[in-house]
């Protein structure tokens, strides 16, 4: 945490802003390199240089002492031998070389494959012991080769970004001849094609290297594996040693594998970008004129539109006959008052079900039939009453047989009997007479006691 705070506090001394010493170091470095200035320079040299910088950038001249104070921390030192003289520190030189390196990546023009093969290759019999392996690929020794590859990839990336800018620029130019345009594109694009091939080759050599390295790791393992079960103290020591060697070899392998994973990710990105540009290029071949033409047309339409617009306090206004366009816009809103009950009374919606005519007729018929039945029963009950009145007695079997015959429905006869018995049982003048003799009712399988209903 403290270290980080220190970085913040000393940031301006570490990376001085351009007019606070930043440009000064660059110009001093260049002057020394071009022999315009001795390695050891005076405060006047510094003052003059500061003046030159300010004039050429149109800035006020800063106070030399203040700037010197900033730079004296890391970038400029007092000469011990020659008082009043100053020199640029190694750090200052390194910083400028580092910055130049970013701009002119030295790996830009080298094939990636070569860098790979130089840094990551195993020749036969080169590695016999674990020390050989560590010296060649151990974490400390491999930092350099790793950096070469990383720098290389960065260079490649920068190059592609520049390539893209170039392609966009060609598309934008007002050049109308298709042949010229396509030619320009092809030149800009050739670089992409070469890079794609280089990357494919590099991946192949990288894979081969990992395979070779793995064989070596396996060798250490087989040494361990072939050891017979230890018995003596010496044998135990040998086992521990072989174990440690295998562990180290494995660690080296994993470290490099991990590094290659990051390389893979970067290469995938770069390849993806190349493919994308390649797709666009083939598309452009087909319809280049139309596309470039349309782009110019859109620009002109924008210009016409702007020419026909004027400022309003609340926005922009087009001249009257500038056509505004419609697009579809219908907001469908679904409301689900799931979580809230606002106590809104819900209207009672009556759902009208259409009449089922068939069902209605059937039910109607049933009612009529039932009505009719009741009427028939009533008629028979009254008829029976009259018979009793007129003739003084009535044989129940005769009555039931008559009804069954006429109505073709025994249940009516049965119900009439029931009704009749109900009525006469409250009438004291009428008597029901049973005989314990079973009589069968015709055309049914029913028998009743012989029953007579008679007046007293």
């Amino acid at each position: 945490m403290t270290k980080r705070n220190e970085l913040y506090e000393k940031y301006e001394q570490l990376l001085p802003p351009k007019f606070e010493g930043g440009y000064l170091i660059v110009v001093l470095y260049n002057k020394i390199k071009n022999d315009e200035l001795a390695e050891q320079f005076t405060i006047n040299d510094i003052r003059n240089t500061l003046e030159e910088i300010s004039i050429s950038h149109g800035e006020a001249i800063p106070q030399t002492e203040r700037i010197l104070k900033i730079l004296l921390h890391y970038y400029i030192r007092n000469s011990a031998e020659k008082p009043g003289k100053y020199y640029l520190t190694d750090r200052a030189r390194k910083l400028i070389e580092f910055l130049q390196n970013i701009l002119e990546n030295p790996y830009k023009n080298f094939p990636l494959k070569e860098s790979f093969e130089k840094s990551f290759a195993i020749s036969s019999d080169e590695i016999q012991t674990i020390s050989d392996l560590e010296r060649k690929f151990g974490r400390l020794f491999i930092e350099g080769p790793k950096k070469i590859i990383s720098d290389h990839l960065e260079g490649l990336d920068d190059e592609l970004i520049d390539g893209y800018a170039e392609l966009n620029k060609i598309l934008e130019s007002n050049e109308k001849s298709v042949t010229t345009l396509v030619n320009q594109f092809t030149v800009a694009f050739r670089k992409f094609g070469e890079r794609a091939e280089d990357i494919t080759n590099s991946i192949a050599s990288k894979d081969k290297f990992l395979k070779d390295l793995n064989i070596i790791v396996e060798l250490f393992y087989s040494k361990l594996d072939n050891l017979k079960h230890p018995e003596s103290q010496n044998e135990y020591e040998l086992l521990d040693q072989l174990k440690a060697e295998y562990g180290k070899a494995k660690e080296i392998y994993l470290d490099i594998e991990k590094f290659f994973d990051t390389v893979d990710t970067k290469l995938t990105n770069i390849r993806h970008r190349i493919h994308n540009a390649s797709d666009k290029l083939s598309e452009l071949h087909e319809q280049f004129t139309a596309r470039a033409h349309l782009r110019l047309q859109v620009k002109r339409l924008l210009k016409i539109t702007l020419d026909n617009a004027s400022y309003l306090n609340t926005g922009i206004l087009f001249k009257q006959n500038y056509p505004l366009k419609d697009i579809i816009h219908e907001n469908t809103v679904f409301r689900y008052p799931g979580h809230y009950d606002f106590n809104v009374s819900q209207p009672n919606i009556v759902i009208r079900i259409p009449t089922d005519e068939k069902y209605k007729d059937e039910e109607y018929l049933k009612i009529i039939q039932e009505n009719k039945r009741q009427e028939t029963i009533n008629e028979w009950v009254q008829k029976a009453g009259k018979i009793i009145d007129e003739y003084g007695s009535l044989d129940l079997r005769d009555l039931m047989e008559n009804i069954t015959m006429e109505e073709k429905d025994f249940s009516i006869a049965y119900q009439v009997t029931g009704e009749l018995e109900n009525e006469i049982s409250v009438n004291e003048n009428i008597l029901i007479h049973f005989e314990k003799e079973l009589v069968n009712i015709k055309s049914t399988d029913l028998s009743i006691w012989k029953t007579k209903i008679m007046k007293k």
């Binding site: 349309l294 924008l302 579809i328």
Partner: protein, 222 residues
């Protein structure tokens, strides 16, 4: 021949499970004017799978045209009126007329799209737009239209108003599916221009086909 084709198309696709699952959302999305590209994967794949059926559905029931357009190798779908007929959504309340600022912004974004044609993603932020206004090719016109006066610099307050207006426009374009606002950028407005911005040149197709005539007509009538 056409009739025969039509006979095969019907509304049966509406009873497919995948259609039923997303119908309501997709339908209201299209009606709201959104342009659907592959980023809305579920909707996009449904439209692609049953394209002929959807087209039939919207033509028969809404008298509208479901368009599948390709620009810069990307397809996007949207609902449009048939020529000279606004279909069943023809009422004022059911269509949206692009405002002046939306029209200008749309054309500017289309121009930027072409400008960055070779970039894989056309990502733009407020600072890019601000630069266009300050130093772009049409900076004088932009300044006059947005601030009302031509000056070398404008106050923070003035910029705030312009930024707010622009932000609103981009929000509406986000709803149309013409841009996609990147949410992880916090307070700063960062968005990607989608290929569907090409709809702007579809809307002005007639004018673009004969710009000379269009320009003359505007000058004469004013």
């Amino acid at each position: 021949m056409e009739n025969q084709d039509n006979e095969k198309i019907n509304f049966d696709f509406l009873s497919e499970e995948d259609v039923q699952k997303s119908f309501a959302d997709l339908h209201s999305c299209l009606l709201s004017g959104k342009h659907i590209c592959i980023d809305d994967y579920t909707f996009f794949s449904l439209l692609e799978k049953y394209e002929r059926d959807w087209k039939f559905f919207y033509r028969s029931l809404y008298a509208m045209n479901l368009v599948g357009n390709v620009f810069d190798r990307h397809t996007y779908f949207y609902l449009d009126f048939f020529d000279s007929d606004k279909g069943k959504l023809g009422e004022q309340s059911r269509s949206h007329q692009l405002t002046e600022i939306q029209t200008i912004t749309g054309l500017v974004l289309l121009d930027i799209y072409y400008h960055r044609y070779f970039d894989e993603k056309k990502v733009v932020n407020w600072a890019d737009i601000q630069n266009q206004i300050k130093d772009g090719e049409y900076h004088e016109q932009y300044k006059k239209l947005l601030f009302g006066v031509l000056r070398d610099s404008y106050t923070e307050q003035e910029w705030l108003i312009v930024e707010k207006r622009f932000r609103n426009t981009i929000n509406s374009f986000n709803r149309f599916g013409w841009v996609s606002i990147m949410p992880e950028q916090g307070k700063d407005l960062v968005f990607e221009i989608k290929p569907a911005i090409y709809r702007m040149s579809k809307l002005y197709e007639v004018e673009l086909s004969d710009l000379e005539n269009f320009a003359t007509r505007l000058t004469n009538n004013n």
